[in-house]
Assembly symmetry: C2
Homo-oligomer: 339 residues x 2
């Protein structure tokens, strides 16, 4: 919700015109550096503008020109190290197109998410976000707002999405543990519940484990309460209690994986000698821990860039149906010390 107006009303083009003793359009010409204006007049106008601390109203200009685009980027938590690269991709393409980007943070709260989206929607032409709210809810609460979901399967009309191929990613992770490292008792650390349960990453891992003839399922799974190092530590502790003979862990993301590594060490296990750990996302952070983290990298900047392109598509035709071939980001295994 917007609040009260800024005190001390700002000078308008009319004030400048009056002070300079010219008409409004002359002021407009001066400040927009158009031709058709005398050098002396221009200088006088600019001086008047300066002395009044005049700045053109972005609203008036936007209303008149109708050529400015703003996209809203909703993050579930700005401090999550997953986002900077995504944001970087978003900002890069936005800048190329001359678009502005407003950001919001839902602090991991589902209710706040919707509120934050609505606030952003007041200032943006379209939204980008990793939303946990179901599509129907978004459509209901944000009627007419083009939304591009990060890491969601294609959804409703008016919603775009960028997919990440988790099936392939998880398969690479499991195959590496099984085929390259010879692990046979592999646990899975899943993240928090997802909007669409069918998209849980662990499912892809479990399927691949079974294809290798290995055990998998609830017994071999723990859920991290948060996608953080602490969440990973707690989840691994839980999993280790159930499966003390575990010799490998596939994790929902790198932070959880790093937490898993820390907890394993604390429990007296050596990584990777006793237990192999593998993460997902490929955060720069993974290179700094010891041993450095093997992870399935995804090009997060590309995810951001693709999202802005999807926004452009939606903006061009808001009634376009969701395309079946939404852009996909393909994960790629990068092996380091932890396996």
């Amino acid at each position: 919700m917007e609040r009260k107006p800024v005190p001390g009303r700002r000078a308008t083009i009319g004030d400048v015109a009056e002070l300079a003793g010219v008409s409004k359009q002359t002021v407009s010409r001066a400040i927009n550096d158009k031709g058709e204006i005398g050098a002396a007049t221009k200088e006088r106008v600019l001086e008047a503008a300066r002395s009044l601390g005049y700045r053109p109203s972005r609203f008036a200009r936007g209303l008149r020109l109708q050529d400015s685009v703003t996209v809203g980027l909703l993050l579930s938590d700005v401090t999550n190290p997953y986002y900077p690269e995504v944001a970087s991709g978003v900002l890069e393409v936005a800048e190329d197109r001359g678009w502005h980007v407003v950001v919001g943070d839902s602090r991991g709260d589902r209710r706040r998410e919707l509120e934050a989206l609505q606030v952003l929607a007041r200032q943006a032409d379209a939204l980008i976000g990793q939303c946990s709210s179901p599509d129907e809810e978004l459509a209901r609460e944000l009627p007419g707002v083009p939304i591009v979901l990060l890491d969601h399967p294609p959804g409703h009309r008016g919603h775009g999405s960028v997919r990440i191929d988790f099936t392939s990613g998880m398969r690479q992770a499991v195959d590496h543990l099984v085929l390259d490292r010879g692990r046979r008792r592999i646990g899975v650390l899943e993240g928090t519940p997802r909007a669409n349960p069918a998209t849980e990453r662990r499912l892809s891992a479990e399927q691949r484990l079974r294809e290798h003839g290995l055990p998998a399922g609830a017994d071999w799974t723990a859920h991290a309460v948060s996608h953080t190092v602490a969440g990973g530590e707690a989840a691994l502790a839980e999993l280790l209690t159930a499966r003390p003979d575990m010799d490998g862990v596939v994790c929902y993301n790198d932070q959880i994986a790093i937490g898993a590594m820390r907890e394993l060490k604390r429990a007296g296990r050596r990584v990777p000698a006793d237990v192999s750990v593998i993460g997902f996302d490929g955060l720069p952070l993974g290179e700094l821990v010891t041993p450095s983290l093997t992870s399935v990298h995804i090009d997060k900047a590309r995810l951001g860039r693709l999202a802005v392109q999807e926004v452009a598509r939606l903006l061009a035709d808001p009634t376009a149906p969701p395309v079946p071939d939404a852009p996909v980001v393909h994960p790629e295994l990068v092996v380091r010390g932890s396996t």
Copy 2:
């Protein structure tokens, strides 16, 4: 610069009014959930709006209501792990006030910085940023735009700032190395050149080193080309060549410190047995490396919160002179494994 308009012109309140067979005012009442409207009429209007994909123009609304505030946040590099917490503080207070936040990224480029600020200024009422451009340049290129500089001494009229007490911070760092660890041959890893050379952090460190009767100066200093782990690695290698007998390093920030630790290990030195390393900023990252990083923590979220408060002050009275007692963030030493 803004580009061409979005195609397929959006429906206006007039279109909705026409379709619903009512006046614009009635539409306005319906979509803004005011009273004074029949339930049936309201439903008919909302249905019309829905079918047209109508969304109110933020420009028209902003122009009319004059109650929306947007602040622009310029970062030198979104992917720098220093920023998320700052942004978090900015977003927190902005949200409390009902303000929007637009972000820009200058990619560490001085020229881009000014451009990015100008782009942001088109969409924001005031700016916040860690700017490397001199005050005069900002004042000249962004006339009338209230700016709050992060980590700068108070500057010109119309500019606000939030200070970080580097003198105290660097003193704590040096004192820890000298008094608590007994180090006597301490090197300094400074960052890239600053807008105001007098604010280089190394100066505070060098002064304190001299107060302890220890050697300091160019011989004991290396400059990191970038504020990154790689930058720290290179800088430390350089310093180590000049001072192979070094037994401690004070670093410009945590990333450089982590780079220093890595390079020291690579050179066969033990940390902290042979060389003590100390960072600055207190990134969460520092807890994950081995050994974990001792650092002078600064409350980055608070920095962001204070910056927004300064913006509020400037917005309330744009002609207010810079206050001598700009808000200050006080650093605090947190000791961990690396010293």
